[in-house]
Symmetry: C2
Subunit: 720 residues, 2 copies
């Protein structure tokens, strides 16, 4: 179960399938668009960290010069799937080798039939190398086959251009292009070479040196039944990577030209073999689940920066325009556990990104009148807040919609500290904690100590006017998830402070030169920890999601079925706000992250209450996987329904927005659902233990995790 | 005085000079960017009516595939002015022949010196033809000279792309490209041919068929001191013009290829000769004024649609991105008089555009709860309102600025009727009035009858909460300009109605089938005309611009000098609103348009009052030319200061925004200032008379106008 296979080409599903057939190597990802193009495609290649300014969304990953382009002319006829007849079609993504293959037979408008096979990979062994191959076999004609391929600097992001031309060249051995992002001035240089091999024939090479689109063409005469093999080598570097991207990309090209497809692919395959050795999860008894889990792990692996600690993973990974490459808490809470437990080096890179961006978070806290570091809700290249503030209203072009998350969805600062703590607990990476992690935890604690508002009348601290994870309710007071995480952040910082001072005084001194900590702050911290209001009704054991939530209108969700839209879309933003319906369950999320806060009975009571009030189908894509885990904990047989909803999010396009890119948090949550839900992995005083809740039909779950550098194997089998 | 000459190239003035050196033929205009490109250029070609959707501004003229492109390689070195050394440089726009020439000597980074001359014209004789020529003379080397030129579909509007690729081809005789606007689906097809002639040498042609940028290359060996002549023929059609733009552009190319540069240019030159014969204004005794007036007339002529009655002239003509090609009252009140009196066929086209767009104006009236037709403040392809509603706030990215003109700057509906009436008076074009003009005048009158609000208490009609021409004051009540023009519109409609019924009953019946006029409406019209409040203080003879204006804070403008910014920029939008400072003088404008409303003494009193309170330097670019006329009427010697400010608006970039495009209203106003101000042309019972107010130094103004098809010559000379 390693192959995602598409047997028919349906242009209406084009964008969805482009997302599904995305490949990548942690440096870039490329959507599954066709080499020869197709009308209305959303062709895109995104490189980590290559952001440029854009209206409304402030900044976005700039779609990079395309490496796939192959324009094919068959005896003079231009090969295009929107013309002629498609006689057969299979597209296959092999997850094990991260290789995309398209095998098709096409009849041209003039009746020429050709068998074409396309293969591509973005090398995991050499992240600056991408390769594409086409084999072309005329079936009922002989004639000249020509393939043109270039490097176009004219790419755009949904019509917005991000690149200025700098220079280019075309030689017999290569074409190269140097461009620069318009606002952020990131240089990108790419080089390519094209070859055609036809047994017994000489192929001809032409240089096509056209402004901002340098290209090469190869052609040869070919007889019916014979095969032409076309290879395209592509290399690229940016000024984020090296000092002289042009020199390095041209040099890399010359180096890789010494190897053929088989050699380059073998190195790539081997790299993936070792990747899967550490990360694979084996599920027996449920083929769909097995394939879906691997597909989602694959999405995490191709988006994971292996050699760059200045970038994060966007909510839609690198696979689409959704959220423009901006990173949210999706990384720390949903995706990071997979990396912490299988690829801690990558988790370290991702958390280091947050540390590097402390200046942006400090700036935001300061601008809002707070201490310490307030992380942006949406974060991109520089760590400043990049959540759009106003977006067009599709229903009325004279008005705009205000997006509040960037202003008041504050829990992310605690989520980041939480993730750092989890990383530290699992890895014991002391140098990271001392040099980077502690600074984030202390600075976010500072933020919370100043963000909490003292209510003189009630003698308590409150955190008011915010948005919790459940975004159907905004401008709420004392959201329990936020308050509890803030309190945890302060407590953890307090302990950390003592530990640092006592056991790592020289590291503390170094750190304190940066943060200039005043002992008096501790008093305030303790006061906030003791008096921060965290709603709980000890009688009913119900945890009220935020103050006044229980007074909101209760809606019988079953009565809205069947529906094809979210409750927010049905009721409107204000309408949904007035109900108890949740986009995702804050209280259960809190119980998942901080299980020691509540006893099992409380968990059961709240599971029953909130499960019935959550928009599972069209609410947040972050919800289902966590819901599956909590269902396991509550012994609810509905766990699999939630799990499979997350598993299908992108493969089946269940939310109709897979075309915008992979739901990264859902992918990360799916891994957690298998490991912490169905396998029931738990860290106890006796070490890691599993408490399996295997779904019906599942006979086995096998996986590995790394704990303090040691690989642990787990093999959970159904007892018959 | 026919030539605009630039003797040095200053990259900092690049955008300003691109505007100044714009050429065009009434079908398209092309900014004066360099054939070989230059970094940060704002290269653009705009075709009338080729609008496409865009964020914020709703719709904009789509920058069309570039026809200028010439990439020149001199013995392998890429010719670019941002490299090497510029040894000499002259750029000349010959207004008489609408030909742009650039003559330069360049030393390459490797020391090769070349003399290059570029010439271009957009044929006025054949509006689908554009020609560019380069002559290249190596001065201190011999070698291969290569020129590559193509058709790029990858053009953008300040980074926003508007074109989807459809098809392309490259043959020895031509390259062609077919593209389509993304949202509005307007097809554009262009074809081109490239040739190189070197005496005694064979030149070599290469085809460069690269996706979305089909190109040709010509090359030849050339000896030091010899000259290569490169010609590029370019033709284009859109689906706005013909059914099959691709066929027509390719056919046209083949036709024009039978002629050489000299023949094609001669036809173009002749067309301009006849243009100037009708439109030229001779000024003696002031060379700067002579050249500036011709430059501004030239701008009107190249923007004037000669064969298209479905388009208008944008506020920035076709010469830049400012206002995105949208048309305002600038056309009817400022530019149209020039066309009415010299090229009435063009005036007819422009007014027909408004008639064709009546459906949009009716829609707007209806949406706002009014009768008849309410014209959009900004109008583009369809006649719907396209004024942006919200624009980014450069000072604070979390907030936006609301633009109110599209909602409440209502005077444009009367301005359009006024222009139609003026056209009719001057041309006697009865068929236009009966079939088109009357419908607009009656429908706008209907609008005013419903827009006027009855004030029971004061027993009068009012027009409240609007913006008058003076945009420093918004949300004002009873703006005198608006109320008086509305009243004029109603009165004119009333007279027109009687005349139609009595003298053109069959035309009236036909018209009435469309507008379904109810006789009862006349009562309401008469009631509004009699009771519409038009502020006037018979004691002081002061006309209050709007109710409460005299209570606003009076500012001594002299005390703000010297300044480099508008009063609105200095005081803020709200701050300026609270003062009496004007962006342009509504009351004087009214006295100019409807001179019979007030006696001469009233004019003098109000001239003195408002002249002192107008932001002449950085207020509206529409102000100075009208101010010059009113100064003549008031015998104020300041007239010339206002005139020369308008004359220099674009040539000297006095407002620092000439890079956004030509100030079309200022250009039209300048012609009016000379004719109705300095020459003092007036229509009296005895016919057209001049009452000259020649500025100091001027010895002669000579010009022609057309009256009812008859050409009248005027030659005003200073009496010594």
């Amino acid at each position: 179960m390693w192959k995602i296979v598409e047997e028919t080409f349906n242009p209406e599903k084009q964008h969805h399938k482009e997302t599904v057939f995305t490949i990548g190597n942690g440096y870039l990802s490329t959507r599954g668009a066709f080499e020869e193009r197709f009308p209305a495609e959303m062709r895109a290649t995104f490189l980590h960290g290559v952001f440029d300014d854009a209206p409304v969304v402030f900044t976005e990953l700039a779609n990079a010069p395309d490496w796939l382009e192959l324009d094919i002319f068959l005896a003079g006829e231009h090969f295009r799937l929107n013309q002629g007849t498609l006689l057969s079609f299979t597209r296959t993504l092999d997850l094990r080798t991260a290789t995309l293959t398209r095998d098709l037979r096409w009849r041209s408008p003039r009746g020429r039939e050709t068998h074409l096979v396309f293969e591509r990979f973005a090398s995991l062994a050499e992240e600056h190398l991408c390769m594409v191959k086409a084999t072309i076999r005329p079936e009922n004609y002989s004639g000249r086959v020509e393939v043109r391929a270039g490097l176009s600097g004219e790419v755009d992001n949904l019509k917005l251009k991000h690149w200025d031309w700098v220079a280019q060249g075309v030689r017999a051995q290569e074409a190269w292009l140097q461009v620069k992002t318009c606002a952020t001035k990131i240089e990108l240089s790419a080089a390519m070479k094209l070859s055609m091999t036809v047994p017994g024939q000489r192929s001809h090479l032409t240089r096509l040196d056209v402004q901002n689109h340098p290209a090469l063409a190869v052609s040869s005469n070919i007889k019916s039944g014979e095969t032409a093999t076309v290879l395209k080598w592509f290399t690229q570097y940016t000024s984020r990577d090296v000092k002289n991207p042009l020199k390095d990309s041209r040099r890399a090209l010359q180096k890789y030209l010494l190897q053929d497809w088989a050699q380059l692919w073998e190195a790539h395959r081997k790299a993936w073999e070792s990747e899967w050795e550490r990360s694979d999860v084996i599920i027996e008894g449920d083929d769909e689940a097995q394939l879906a889990v691997r597909f989602n792990i694959f999405q995490l692996l191709i988006a994971a920066p292996r050699h760059d600690e200045h970038v994060n993973i966007g909510a839609k990974t690198l696979s689409g325009y959704g959220y423009r490459g901006h990173a949210f808490w999706d990384t720390e809470i949903f995706m990071l556990p997979f990396f912490i437990h299988t690829r801690p080096e990558i988790a370290r890179n991702l958390l280091s990104y947050r540390w590097h961006n402390l200046p942006g978070a400090r700036e935001k806290a300061k601008a809002n009148g707070f201490l310490g570091a307030q992380y942006p809700w949406e974060s991109a290249g520089t760590g400043e807040e990049v959540t759009p503030t106003w977006v067009p209203n599709p229903a009325d072009r004279t008005s705009l919609i205000r997006i509040w998350t960037g202003d008041i969805e504050v829990h992310i600062s605690a989520d980041i500290s939480y993730a750092i703590w989890k990383y530290w607990q699992s890895t014991g990476d002391e140098s990271f904690l001392l040099e980077r992690g502690a600074e984030v935890i202390l600075e976010t604690a500072r933020f919370w100590s100043s963000r909490a508002e003292w209510n003189e009348e009630l003698g308590r601290y409150e955190i008011n006017d915010i948005i919790g994870p459940d975004e159907y309710h905004d401008h709420v007071d004392n959201n329990v998830y936020t308050n509890a995480l803030a309190c945890w952040n302060l407590k953890t910082a307090l302990d950390l402070y003592s530990w640092l001072k006592e056991e790592h005084s020289s590291a503390w001194k170094k750190l304190n030169r940066r943060i200039r900590f005043n002992e008096k702050e501790l008093e305030k911290w303790r006061h906030v920890i003791e008096h921060l209001y965290i709603p709980f009704d000890s009688q009913t054991k119900l945890v009220e999601q935020f103050e006044g939530y229980f007074q909101r209108r209760d809606v019988n969700l079953a009565k809205l079925e069947p529906r094809t839209n979210s409750v927010q879309a049905l009721f409107g933003i204000e309408g949904a706000n007035e109900t108890q319906v949740l986009k995702q369950p804050d209280v259960l999320m809190l119980m998942y992250l901080l299980p020691d806060l509540y006893d099992h009975e409380t968990l059961l009571v709240n599971y029953a209450y909130y499960n019935a009030r959550t928009d599972h189908t069209f609410g947040s894509s972050l919800g289902p996987s966590i819901q599956a885990i909590m269902a396991c904990k509550a012994n609810d047989e509905g766990a699999y329904v939630h799990f499979i909803r997350a598993a299908r999010a992108d493969l089946f396009n269940v939310r109709n927005n897979a075309g915008d890119g992979i739901h990264g948090a859902s992918a990360g949550g799916l891994w957690q659902a298998v490991i912490f839900g169905f396998a029931g992995l738990e860290h106890t005083s006796a070490g890691w233990m599993t408490h399996p809740h295997l779904p019906e039909g599942w006979t086995r779950i096998a996986f590995k995790i790394v704990d303090h550098g040691k690989e642990l194997h787990f093999d959970v089998k159904k007892a018959f």
